[in-house]
Amino acid sequence: MLHLVNKSPHDGCNLDTATSIMKDGDSLLLIEDGVYGAIKAGKAASLLEGRSVSVLGPDLAARGISEDKLVDGITIVDYAGFVDMVAASDNVQSWL
């Protein structure tokens, strides 16, 4: 299953819920304000430990977050990569 989070980790509990419900083999894609969750020095970074996490590159760039600020091992995808991830998943859960 692919989990999508589009809200800041400090705005509500979407990232907490998503990461706590994820199973092994699930992936998480952070988009829009969700990309703030991928900042290594941020409070929410620990939620991503041991998870397969991707972030949407254009949303990172828009918010001025450079790659060196991200949690190690995270994958940056573009819109085409986003589509590939959706297509490759049997199901998508959007934590709106």
């Binding site: 809200k7 705005d11 304000d33 703030y36 020095a41 409070k43 760039a61 828009a62």
Partner: protein, 135 residues
């Protein structure tokens, strides 16, 4: 001569995900015409509005981050940034745009507009305002 009021605009939302940040910036710029004592605070996710290096080409939205650097021209030069909000988000002052204003009385000397404040300091500043606007 009408009385000058202390107005503070409080920004607590990230840019782009919602329209609040841009709306607030427009209201601040419009309000600046009324020659009041204006200050702006950035706290919680609002601190994200000031990050440098924003490039919105890929998301097809207007990049309004350069507009914050015009605040000095509008004589909005008291910009408070909440230190704890920055730290929680893994950011430092270095990650933010450098905002300045020119002091006409000192031969247009450039001065910093951003004041990094603790929660306690911000609480004092808030208590001192006549009107608070929240975005």
């Amino acid at each position: 001569m009408p009385e000058t009021k202390k107005l503070m605009y409080i920004n607590r939302k990230a840019p782009y995900g919602t329209i609040y940040a841009w709306e607030s910036l427009e209201v601040v710029l419009i309000g600046a015409a009324f020659e009041q004592d204006v200050s702006v605070a950035f706290m919680d996710d609002g601190v994200y509005q000031l990050t440098k290096g924003q490039d919105t080409t890929g998301i097809g939205m207007k990049n309004f981050s350069p507009t914050y650097t015009a605040l000095g021209d509008y004589e909005v030069n008291k910009i408070y940034v909440d230190k704890e909000s920055l730290e929680e988000r893994g950011l430092t002052l270095d990650d933010l745009q450098h905002l300045v204003w020119e002091d006409e009385d000192e031969d247009y000397a450039e001065k910093d507009s951003i004041r990094l404040v603790s929660r306690a300091e911000l609480s004092e500043v808030l208590a001192d305002q006549d009107v608070l606007f929240n975005f």
